[in-house]
């Protein structure tokens, strides 16, 4: 197939939706760690519990701030009263852990038996005195990382809508424990001086849960250009959720946050900055440029910064240049990752993705197309709701150098001589910003580096019959 035969524009397909992914309730795994004063209560069955228990591995033993409200037969047949049952469990949680917020995760079961979680929560909230946030992160509607989207969309409604009036700059900072720590004993002039480092622009709030080091990195990256991040949804603590007033600007850091974006726009009247996502040095640069352009700022030294990062990546890029990659699709990071890998010189054969929001991801999609053109790479086909069985047939045919896939397929593919990278690792690794570009490539090249070491041993195909799935 020659490049000329490739379609000019991106093509979208939709398959059967028979694919493997994590249940969206898995978002509690990283969100309970991110939001330090939260408690996540997953209202579901043994099936949900079994998944969490096994998917979270060792985290489960570290006294996690999450639990199952395990539904029993009496709950299903409504012999037990939902409200009374939830009240009993939430009081127990309050007594044992005293969280600042309890997040109820609705599951498939609560959907089917139509438990009115949104209705029960405000009543119970006023009775027990702890905010209760409801997120319906179920497998009927969502895949994997979309779980975070449902939680953040619910949290967006809890952000204070006004900074308390008649407040001085220092008072405002006092509310924030971290700020308080940083400013303790500092003179007021220092704070004022710090403020002057920023360009005067409307407040910007970023959304998406990232590990704290990455939050700091991205915040500082924007600070270099005089852009001030007024807040971050979610913050380290529920009590520190950012103020969101009408007219604030918001920008997403992850591709799976469409509901959160919609909520911020429609319910909170914010202006969404549609940018590619800060994944890879190219993405990070485009993200910063877009934000700066909205505020009428000319970014300084971005060229050099990006070039410098690319230079430091060269030893890894060398390994993958000209190699092909196939995304089976399970976590919605696929478009951004594919775009970055094409920029690295890889050929992307297929981008499987659970769900494609063409509006929220518009800038990223355009950037993907542009990247393909600039690199002279074939424009990959985007397959929404993929069918894993069909994908395997295509993989056998295309023989990609690397398949990015879930753990259900990874070992069987390796046994058939196909290099794989476990996709879930990208969700938990630090992959955002300039600083972490190397981590993405560390993951992507790992199977290639490992298998390079083994290549002369003749151990490629380790199954007896040929590729029968």
């Amino acid at each position: 197939m020659t490049v000329a035969q490739q379609p000019e524009a991106l093509s979208f397909e939709c398959e059967t939706g028979n694919y493997h992914t994590f249940c969206p309730i898995s978002c509690v795994a990283w969100l309970y760690q991110k939001i330090e004063d939260s408690f996540f209560l997953v209202i579901g069955t043994k099936t949900c519990g079994y998944f969490l228990q096994n998917a979270m591995g060792v985290m489960i033993f570290a006294e996690p701030r999450y639990a199952m409200a395990e539904l029993e037969e009496g709950d299903i047949s409504a012999q037990l009263n939902d409200y009374e049952e939830l009240k009993r469990l939430c009081l127990q949680i309050k007594r044992d852990r005293n969280p600042s917020v309890i997040v109820w995760i609705g599951t498939c079961t609560t959907e089917i038996i139509k438990t009115d979680l949104e209705g029960l929560a405000p009543k119970l909230e006023s009775e027990i005195g702890i905010p209760i946030v409801v997120a319906r992160a179920n497998g009927l509607d969502y895949a994997f990382t979309q779980g975070e989207d449902t939680v953040l969309a619910a949290m967006a409604n809890r952000c204070p809508d006004k900074a308390p009036v008649a407040e001085t700059e220092t008072d405002k900072n006092e509310r924030n424990a971290i700020q308080k720590l940083l400013n303790f004993g500092k003179k007021k002039e220092d704070v004022a001086q710090e403020e002057s480092e920023y360009v005067d622009h409307p407040p910007l709030v970023l959304f998406g849960s990232l590990p704290d080091p990455v939050v700091t990195q991205l915040t500082l990256e924007l600070k270099k250009h005089g852009v001030k991040v007024s807040g971050w949804l979610p913050a380290k603590r529920f009590t520190e959720l950012p103020v969101i007033e009408e007219g604030y600007y918001v920008a997403g850091v992850n591709p799976f946050l469409s509901r959160t974006a919609t909520t911020l726009m429609r319910r909170r009247k914010c202006k969404l900055i549609g940018a590619p996502f800060p994944i890879g040095p190219d993405g990070t640069r485009a993200w910063i440029e877009k934000i700066c352009s909205v505020f009428g700022i000319t970014p300084k030294g971005l060229d050099e910064r990006e070039a410098q990062i690319w230079e430091s990546l060269e030893d890894y890029v060398k390994l993958i240049r000209g190699k092909s990659v196939f995304f089976m699709g399970d976590n919605l990071l696929e478009i951004s990752q594919a775009r970055f890998l094409i920029r690295c010189g890889m050929i992307v054969q297929e981008i499987g993705i659970p769900y494609m929001d063409k509006r929220y991801q518009a800038a990223e999609l355009a950037f993907l197309e542009k990247t393909c053109q600039e690199m002279g790479a074939p424009i990959p086909k985007i397959v929404e709701k993929p069918d894993n069985y069909n994908q395997l047939q295509r993989i056998y045919e295309l023989k990609p150098d690397l398949v990015i896939t879930g753990m259900a397929h990874a070992n069987p593919l390796e046994a058939r001589g196909i290099n794989t990278k476990w996709s879930v690792e990208f969700t938990f690794a630090q992959i955002h910003g300039f600083t972490n570009a190397r981590d993405i490539l560390e993951l992507v090249t790992r199977p290639l580096r490992r298998n390079n070491n083994l290549k002369d041993l003749g151990w490629d195909k380790l199954v007896r019959e040929e590729a029968k799935i």
């Binding site: 069955t45 043994k46 033993f61 497998g139 509607d141 400013n183 395997l392 069987p412």
Partner: protein, 508 residues
């Protein structure tokens, strides 16, 4: 509703999937929402399967909720039938389909009209059975299905095999050390001159099932899986079954003597006493170990045991009867079969504990302060917290409990493995204890495992001393916060005062 952080036995459909994917060329289709196919990940990761797990999902989504599955399930079954030609497709209900109450029977019947392979609906109710019960039921269901089918077609072979033979029932995928046990049992049968007629479900083909009546007897090594099948075969064909788990020297001998009795009753003339004697005294090292000085030192040491019925009961008996260890309590999470457990272990321990609540188990361990724990991965972590060594003897288990090396728990080699496991747990505990008495190997204190934010700050001796008083699990955080505080203020050194000033400033 109940508040739960951890469960010992999984949901029912896991049991069904374990049986289905143990058989060769059997495919399971779950009627479940997206993400419920986590079984595939577990099988692929834990037992490092090279082949694709033969489980797919007929996805229940919003549309299904609104209109019912309609053609979807039937289409998925016939599609899989055409793609992979399995001998059998097992439609597996989940908690979700239990509530939807769709007529899955009807789907199976309709799919059967088109499918070349057999199609069956697993008869398990999510809210009534757990993983283990469901596995036992599903195995029985599949065996009955193929026996009945053969009977109808007149393919059922009459009469027994010429030589004494056995069906080994119950080794399955994701079972604790099942593959090693299976090898060891086959070896044992070969040593006893007994042919293995069938071995189900692991590695068996459904076409083997009609041969099952030819065996002289059935051996059910695990209490949790296979008994229902063995009882069915006894009722149908009068095949006797043996449900003595050959785990530990005494129990292995008891199992072999029972085999001798059962096959002699059918005309074999065997005497296994010499074999048992030779194995016990010279092949297995466990009997000799019991007499050795090492084991003498374990006399009267306190241990607790928790696990599934099979393993917890066997290990309790080994500890108490074969090694003279004091088992303070023994427990099981198989609540549904608690009477059996009590009957098995009551004379070997002070107290019997039946519970599915890991908190209760943890408390019971803390209360007793044993020298060693024998339990599941959960008890291993309790042990870590309390500084008590733990040997893992039962599921739930992690990837390290699927060793590549040969580590059976059953038969004579199994007795050697168990001896190592038990002895190593106790000596580790002793070493630890001695280190504590003599103040440890090192005099250098490690402050934190975390990476400090920066190293430009000096901690004075008293600052360091204060920091060391802070409990280990928050020490790293306090260190970082203090350094951040000091850096903000431009302090070059951190002494105790600075540490506490920082603490006050953060309000921590």
């Amino acid at each position: 509703m109940k508040l739960a952080y951890w469960m010992y036995a999984g949901p029912a459909h896991i049991g069904t999937l374990r049986i289905a994917s143990s058989f060769k060329n059997v495919h399971a289709i779950m009627h479940a929402p997206l993400g419920d196919d986590y079984f595939n990940v577990m099988r692929s990761m834990l037992s490092r399967e090279r082949d694709f797990t033969p489980v797919t999902t007929s996805v229940v989504d919003r549309n299904v909720l609104a209109r019912g599955s309609q053609e979807k399930v039937v289409d998925n079954i016939t599609r899989k039938d055409a793609e992979e030609h399995p001998d059998l497709i097992v439609l597996t209900p989940t908690c979700t389909s239990s509530i939807l109450q769709e007529d899955l029977h009807n789907f199976v019947e309709r799919a059967q009209l088109e499918a070349k392979g057999d199609v069956m609906l697993a008869d398990v109710n999510h809210y009534r059975y757990n993983e283990l019960q469901a596995a036992d039921r599903t195995l029985d269901q599949i065996v009955q299905y193929y026996i009945e089918k053969a009977r109808k077609r007149g393919e059922l072979v009459e009469g027994k095999t010429e030589k004494p033979s056995v069906n080994i029932i119950g080794t399955s995928t994701l079972g604790f050390h099942n593959n090693h046990d299976c090898t060891e049992l086959k070896r044992l049968m070969a040593d006893l001159g007994i042919e293995v007629n069938t071995l189900i479900p692991e590695g068996a083909s459904v076409s083997d099932l009609k041969k099952m009546p030819k065996a002289w007897f059935n051996l059910v090594p695990y209490r949790e899986l296979g008994l229902t099948t063995a009882r069915y075969l006894e009722e149908q064909f009068g095949t006797p079954y043996i449900d003595i788990t050959p785990m530990g020297v005494v129990e292995t001998a008891r199992c072999i003597r029972k085999i001798q009795q059962v096959i002699n009753a059918q005309g074999a003339e065997v005497d296994y006493e010499d074999f048992i004697n030779e194995q016990t005294l010279h092949v297995s090292q466990a009997a000799w170990f019991s007499r050795s000085i090492d084991c003498q030192n374990l006399t009267g040491k306190k241990a607790v045991v928790f696990g599934d019925n099979t393993h917890a009961a066997a290990i309790t008996k080994i500890l108490a009867r074969e090694m003279g260890i004091h088992v303070v309590w023994a427990g099981t999470y198989c609540k549904y079969d608690a009477d059996w457990f009590r009957e098995q272990v009551s004379e070997y321990c002070d107290e019997v504990l039946i519970s599915e609540d890991h908190g209760e188990i943890g408390d019971a361990i803390a209360r007793v302060e044993p020298s060693a724990i024998f339990g599941t991965q959960m008890e291993r972590h309790v042990g870590k917290r309390l500084d008590i060594p733990c040997g893992v003897i039962a599921a739930p288990i992690h990837v390290q409990n699927f060793p590549i090396g040969y580590k059976p728990f059953m038969g004579y080699e199994g007795t050697n493995q168990i001896t190592d496991l038990i002895y190593n747990s106790f000596t580790l505990g002793m070493e630890d204890h001695l280190l504590e008495i003599f103040g440890g190997h090192d005099t250098k204190e490690v402050i934190t495992k975390g990476i400090s934010a920066d190293s430009d700050l000096n901690w004075t001796k008293d600052g360091q001393a204060e920091l060391n008083k802070i409990p280990g699990f928050v020490r790293g955080k306090v260190k970082r916060n203090t350094e951040k505080f000091a850096r903000d203020r431009g302090f070059k050194e951190i002494n105790a005062e600075v540490l506490y000033a920082a603490k006050e400033a953060v309000g921590a």
